[in-house]
Subunit: 145 residues, 2 copies
Amino acid sequence: MKSEMSLRIENLLNSANLRRTGPRAAILSVLLQADKPLTQGQIAANLAAVIPNKVTIYRTLASFCRAGLVHKAFMHKRAWHFELADKCTESQCHPHFTCKSCGVVRCLVGLSVSIVEGLKKGFVIHRQQVRLEGLCPSCGGKKSM
Amino acid sequence: MKSEMSLRIENLLNSANLRRTGPRAAILSVLLQADKPLTQGQIAANLAAVIPNKVTIYRTLASFCRAGLVHKAFMHKRAWHFELADKCTESQCHPHFTCKSCGVVRCLVGLSVSIVEGLKKGFVIHRQQVRLEGLCPSCGGKKSM
DNA sequence: TGCTAAATGCAACTAAGTTGCAAAAAGTTT
DNA sequence: AAACTTTTTGCAACTTAGTTGCATTTAGCA
């Protein structure tokens, strides 16, 4: 009998019209279990035993993005983070918060962001992304920079 | 007699308490003349004759950031863009727009962004950055992706 | 079972950004 | 103006994210 996780992965891959393969299922499983966006590096570290190759991870994530299963968010440093797309509509993503002190990344789902006002005529906006930096509740006040 | 540009550069460096050197003046001059944020690579291409070394550009930009003269904005690809900080307050920067079709980067100064609503208790926000992606007026409608 | 298209793995590469150290330039003191 | 100190620059070598081409394997199907 299949686990709930396994079924969910099968559904996701099916709905995206993607073949079910080892690496794909493994990456989805990691993303499903994480409550925050992950970098390719973090996924690779998690799956070193299963996926020997970072190229596979990059390509898999790219096809997930293309299929709308996952979306990319740029955070601090020079790495993208990937997370399941079920938390946001495609065009307006929730803000992502990075704590400058401990480095934790949090998705602030439900935080309203309105940019529409005053948008210049002629621009067509496909996607908006909001990044916040500061201190998270557990670091707040401890460190000023 | 000194040019207006030259004077402005001197003032900026003075106010930031930074020595006036060739590379610094050159980088400031390029940023002052550009009406959009530039990457290190773009600056380097502009100043190949004057600054033989990208490390100098990185370090100079870093010290400009530290002094609050310049701020970093992440755009598409995996490069930061740098622009003079006089267009925005330190904590709330104007949105940056990238055209998916032609790649042009525009600063949407004056566009209001309000994220405050619903911010979870305990978070301290130092900086917010908004990225928009879509089509610019001259590409609008020509290309759908 | 065998076939075919898609997916994976590998090696080699590109490009952004960093580090340590020596040489040069700026500012200061005498 | 010479000597000294501190900051800045240049160079070489490195790290890491992400990409490309090509050969091999695997999923899905006839």
